[in-house]
Structures are given as C-alpha cells and as structure tokens.
C-alpha cells in the first residue's frame, strides 16, 4: 500500500481543495478551536436570536439587547391560541416519521437491487432515478394535486405522505454505501444458502446503520420543513402541518414577530430531539464500522 500511488492522480486535479483545507484544519490546536468557535457563533447566532425574541414581551420585540429585559411567555400563549399548533405538530410528526420509514424502506430495496445485481437496463434505470432529483417540486406540484383530488384525498394526511414514498437521495446514498460492502461476507451468506431477502435485512442493513441514521435525519428534516405541498393541499388548519401554521403569522400587512418566533421555536424543538437521538446512532456506528 503506497501513499504516493494514491496521491498522484488526485494531486493534479484539486489544488484548490488542498489549499483551503490547509488553512481550515489548523495543525495548531488553538487556531483550529478559534475557527471552530467562530463558525459555531455564525451558525448559532440567528437561532439564538429566534429563541430570545420569542421570549421577549410583546412591546419590546425590536429590542437589540442580547438577553431579554424581561422574560415573557406571552408570545407562546398567543401562538398557541391563534393556531392549533399542537395538532399541527402532531400531524407534522406523523407525516415525517412515516415518510422517513417508508423512504428508507423503498430506498433500501431499490439500492439493494442496484448493488447486488447486474441486469438489463440497470444503468438506464439508475440514471432515471438520479435525474428525478433534478426535478423541482413546483413542476410536479399541480399534476400531483389533481391526482390526489381524483383519489379523493384532498386535505388528508395521507396525501401529504403519498408522493414521498421514494426519493432519489435515499436510493443514491444507500446504493453508494451498499457498493462498499465487503463481498466476502455476501458470498459467505449466499454459500450458506441465504436468499436475497434475508441477506438484505440480516446481513447488510445492520452494517449500514451509520448511513441509515444519517439518511433518517436528513429525510425527517426535509419532510418536517416542507412547505409548498402542504400549503397547496391543506384546506383546514387542523389538518395541516406546522410550517403552514408558522406562515400564518407572516402576512402582507406585516409579520407578527413575537408569535412567529415562538411558533418557530416550538417547531424546531422536535427536530433537535430527533437529531440528538439519532446522532448517537450515527456516531456509534462510525466507531463500529471503523474496525474491520
């Protein structure tokens, strides 16, 4: 194993990459930490501002102090009254969980097909799947709406889930990790007489935990934050998702900043929890898969 043989082809290709990482990585630990702290501030400050604003009293919304002069839960009370936010949070949660599970399922199945077999038209289908990623949602929004209307599912939670049964991102990422799976293990399993279904669920999937957890986080978040499709679909506030609820505080006659921030904070907490829970899975699996 020579490091030189690996580095030469790539060295020519990406000088910009290396230069930038040289600055960013910081062999010097203090410099590295400083950069990370600055980045953390950059990432965190707007979110911090959102939470702090939601805790300000209604007449002091435009204050610029870093900590509220007085903590008030008025905005939360108003938000809870003005829109059925708890119901919306539940709806959003259900939709996000179901979509995540289903997309992982169909993604695993499809990725397995690509990784395990060579079959006629496989390249074509793979490209076709990848290309769907390019299709912006607005393009298919109205035809999907008409289809849902024909099915009689307007204003239902089911309709929020249906178009998301499969996604290119899930399939591509999973196919990518499956291809890296050690073939010896697969061969061994097949020698033992295991059929493809068992191999998928009992041999491959447990070892893809890191990728699956990362993907789960991403799918959950993207479904949670989805706006256009629920906006088109939901006719009553009780059947809609929390993003619609948040938007109701943004009118053309001005934003109701306090309740808006309160509703957004409430809408962000569940995702934060999911991230923390799943992150542990991701990290643990990293530790495990490192040892081969």
């Amino acid at each position: 194993m020579t490091t030189e043989a690996i580095s030469r082809p790539l060295a020519a290709a990406r000088p910009r990459l290396r230069r930038k990482t040289a600055e960013g990585v910081g062999i010097n630990s203090a410099a590295g930490h400083l950069v990370m702290v600055l980045l953390s501030l950059f990432c965190l400050f707007p979110v911090y501002w959102m939470v702090v604003t939601s805790l300000r009293p209604a007449n002091a919304i435009f204050e610029t102090s870093l900590w509220p002069s007085s903590i008030s839960l008025d905005n939360y009370a108003y938000a809870l009254n003005a829109i059925p936010i708890v119901r919306m949070l539940i709806n959003t949660f259900i939709v996000s969980i179901v979509v995540t599970v289903i997309q992982l399922f169909t993604g695993l199945l499809a990725a397995y097909a690509f990784a395990r077999w060579r079959f006629r038209f496989d390249k074509l289908v793979y490209t076709a799947v990848a290309l769907t990623w390019l299709v912006p949602f607005q393009v298919v929004m109205i035809p999907n709406y008409l289809l849902v209307a024909q099915m009689g599912l307007l204003d239902s939670v089911v309709a929020l889930i249906l178009p998301h049964f499969a996604s290119a991102l899930a399939i591509l990422l999973l196919a990518q990790s499956m291809r890296g799976f050690p073939k010896e293990v697969l061969e061994a399993a097949r020698m033992d007489g295991a059929r493809s279904w068992r191999i998928l669920w009992e041999v491959m999937t447990p070892n893809l935990r890191g990728t699956i957890a990362s993907l789960a986080i991403l799918i959950f978040i993207s479904t949670w934050n989805e706006y256009f499709w629920p906006l088109l679909l939901s006719r009553t506030a009780e059947n809609s998702v929390v993003q619609i609820g948040i938007q109701m505080f943004m009118t053309s006659e001005g934003n109701a900043w306090g309740p808006l921030m309160a509703a957004s904070t409430m809408a962000s907490l569940p995702i934060l929890i999911i991230y923390i829970v799943l992150q542990r899975q991701v990290v643990q699996s990293f530790m495990k898969s490192g040892i081969r």
């Binding site: 435009f62 008409l146 209307a149 006719r235 109701m248 505080f249 009118t251 006659e253 001005g254 109701a256």
Partner: protein, 430 residues
C-alpha cells in the same frame, strides 16, 4: 316565497341582460353548502378572526346555508384557487384580488351580478354604496365583483420627525415637490430616511404604480384594453419624477417589508402605502411617536387619481341555488354591519359611505381613529385598478414593473427602459 316578487324579478331579468338558462331562486329553501375562498383566513390575526366572526353570524342568521371557509394565498398566482377549479372542487364565492378580475371573468367563469340578480334587488343593495367604489368591480359595463376588503394609498408620516426637522406636521406635504423637500430636510436634520413608498417590490404588483401614473393623467392600459400605454409621455414623466426623488436622495430604496417595520418603529419620515398597513403602524407607534396620515401627494395642481388595492367578492358558482346562497353571503358581507366589522376590526375601507357618520355603525369609531379620514376623502376620487387582460396578465405586470424599477433605481434612461418593457409586454397581450 313571494310569487309576485319572483315574477317581477324574473321579468326584469329577462328584460335587462342576455337570456339566461335559469333564473336563480329568490331565497334558499333547502340546506346548501357553499365554499368561500378567502385569503384573510390564511393568516393568523385580526383578519382571520373578523372573517370567522362574520361567517358565524351569517350562518346563525341563515340556518339553511353552511359556509365553508377555505383559506388560500393570493400571493402565488392564486395557485390553490386555480388548482381546485381544475380539480372540479366546488368554488362558489371568492375573495379575489382586483388584479385578477379580468382573468377571472374569462377563465374562472365569474358571474356578472346583473345576470343573476333581479335588478331591483341589486339596486336596493347598492343603495348607499360609494359610486366610485361600485365601479371598481365593473368590466365591460357589468359588475363582476363587489369591493370587499380594499384601501387607498395613504401618505403616513411621523410628526415627531417632522418637528425635529423643522417642518410643520399640521401642514403635511401636498405635492411631490413638497415631499421631496420634506424628505431631504428630515434626512439632513435627523439622519433618518425621509421617504419611501410601496411602489416596487414582489408583493406590490402594480397597484400603487398605477395610482402614481394616473395622477399625472397617464395610464398603463388604453381604454379599449388592447394597448399598453405606460411608455407614453405622461407616464414617463411620472416615472421620471420618482427617479428624481430617488437620485436626489429623498426616496430611500428600502425593502418593502422592512419599510413597514421601520415606519412602525419610528425610523422613517414618510411612507406612502396602502391604508391596510395602518393597524401595524398604529400598534408600533402607540406610546412611541405621533403617527399621522395625509392623502396621496399630487403632481403640482393636478388632482390625484388613486386606485384601490385589495379584493372583491366574486361569484364563480354555476349552480342556481348556490348562486343565491353566495349572493346572500355577499350581501351580508357588504352590508352596513359587514363593513362596520371590516373597517373597525380589520382596517379596510367601507364601501358604504353612509355608515361613516352613523353612530350605530362607524360613527364613533371614526371619531377615535382620525387616521382614516384621508382614506375616506380619497374614496370620492377613486378609480378602478386596471387588471391586465389575457392569460399572460401577471407576466405583463412583471415586465412593466421590472422596466420601471430599472428606470428608477437602476439608472437606466426612463423613456428607453419603459419603451423596451412596453414592447416586450405588448407581445404578451391577447
């Protein structure tokens, strides 16, 4: 059902408009459900609360009629509305932005009131409404919409900043020249931006732009609705005036949302915008600064010719019973009581001028809210917001506004930019 009234009504109908397949019943005798597409329902706050209250009151008074309020966003080209029509969902009564009125007439099968309602019933309901207000929803001589939530452009100003700049807040600027002078004084003496307007911006469409152009006796659309005219001399002169305000430092280019917040926070001298934002401004001003209002500025001595912003109620249903139910709801919403709620609780203009001084309705409220006065005064000079014809109406408006923006903020030559835009947009006219 009163036979005589029905016969008289039917005869009147046959005599006036084109022959109809069916006349609508004079009242609703069986239970019926109608859908009411409304954009106030889509935002949390006073708009939604007041609308829900009105709907509840109506249903209590009309036990046979059930109203389903359907919120939709008027911003994105009426996506929900159009999608529902395409999906054959029942869409009976719509609160429609005036700029989509022509489109609704040709594409959504909007019904003309004269075709549906007996003439005497119509006349009785229109009695007491501002004649200018009624004209707002008229296309080709027929009333397709009744103005529902609408307002006029108002010059809000900060009296405290005026005093600090040495200006007299009791004599606000009446002409654009005075606006320029006042704005420069405010900027000079207080450091705060002097003036901005809600003319440009993604949510502005062209309603305020039309008002400014028209006040210089220009127009954007010809009377026969076939030719665009915003590159003609009077319009060019109006745009050149705005450009001069900007380049002279009087008109501050502030993002349309930020402008309202800055005004509410007391950081802006003058703000020309729809009176619908009054609620937000008043809330921000209470206890902080003295907020006042003046009518739209004039071009020299020419009287202003503002147009309205806002929406009209339009009937789309083709079922006679539902049409009657929708008309009953429309009558309720545009009644004296209806407008009282709309004006006092949401903040729009009342189409009925007679309730303004009537203590039973708005009389007392008006006394407590003097800011509404310029609004009411402009009602007598109100002209319709020209809705562009044809299927490409929104693209035409975008091209026009892009051209004007290039001229005002982008430093382009006004005549050239507008002529270019007009040529491009004319290609999209039907």
């Amino acid at each position: 059902m009163n036979r005589k009234t029905f016969l008289a009504g039917a005869l009147a109908l046959l005599a006036t408009g084109p022959a109809l397949a069916q006349a609508i019943p004079a009242s609703v005798d069986q239970p019926v459900t109608i859908t009411f597409y409304n954009y106030n329902l889509g935002s949390a706050g006073v708009g939604k609360d007041a609308t829900e209250k009105l709907i509840a009151e109506f249903m209590a008074a009309n036990p046979n009629i059930t109203v389903q309020g359907v919120p939709y966003s008027a911003g994105d080209g009426n996506a929900r509305l159009q999608a529902d029509l395409a999906a054959n969902q029942p869409v009976d009564l719509v609160q429609l932005g005036f700029n989509s009125l022509d489109y609704a007439r040709t594409n959504y099968a909007a019904k003309a009131l004269e075709d549906l309602i007996p003439a005497d019933e119509l006349a009785a309901h229109f009695d007491g409404m501002s004649p200018n207000g009624l004209k707002l929803g008229v296309l080709d001589g027929k009333t397709f919409g009744l103005a529902y939530t609408f307002s006029t452009p108002i010059l809000f100003f900060n009296a405290d900043l005026f005093k600090a700049a040495g200006l007299n807040p009791d004599a606000p600027p009446q002409t654009w020249a005075e606006v320029k002078a006042a704005a420069l004084a405010i900027k000079d003496k207080t450091g705060k931006p002097g003036f901005t307007a809600g003319i440009f911006g993604p949510s502005a469409a062209d309603w305020l732009f039309q008002g400014v152009v028209r006040s210089n006796n220009g127009s954007v659309l010809s009377a026969d609705r076939k030719t665009l005219t915003f590159a003609e001399p009077a319009a060019v002169e109006a745009v050149a005036m705005i450009k001069d305000l900007y380049e002279g430092g009087a008109y501050e280019n502030i993002d349309i949302n930020a402008a309202m917040e800055n005004m509410a926070a007391g950081n802006l001298g003058m703000y020309l915008q729809t009176s619908a934002v009054q609620g937000v401004l008043v809330k921000g001003a209470t206890g902080k600064f003295d907020l006042r209002a003046a009518p739209m500025p004039r071009f020299g001595d020419k009287p202003t010719r503002p147009n309205n912003s806002g929406s009209a109620l339009v009937i789309l249903s083709s079922d006679p019973v539902k049409q009657r139910a929708a008309w009953e709801l429309m009558k309720f919403l545009t009644s004296k009581h209806g407008y009282t709620i709309i004006t006092s609780e949401i903040g729009y203009l009342p189409l009925r001028t007679d309730i303004v001084n009537d203590p039973e309705y708005l009389g007392n409220w008006i006394k407590d809210h003097p800011l509404v006065q310029p609004n009411l005064e402009q009602l007598s000079r109100l002209e319709p917001w020209d809705s562009m014809p044809g299927p490409n109406y929104s693209q035409i408006v975008k091209l026009m506004m892009d051209g004007a923006e290039m001229a005002v903020f982008g430093g382009a030559d006004v005549q050239a930019a507008l002529s270019d835009a007009q040529a491009n947009a004319q290609a999209l006219m039907p």
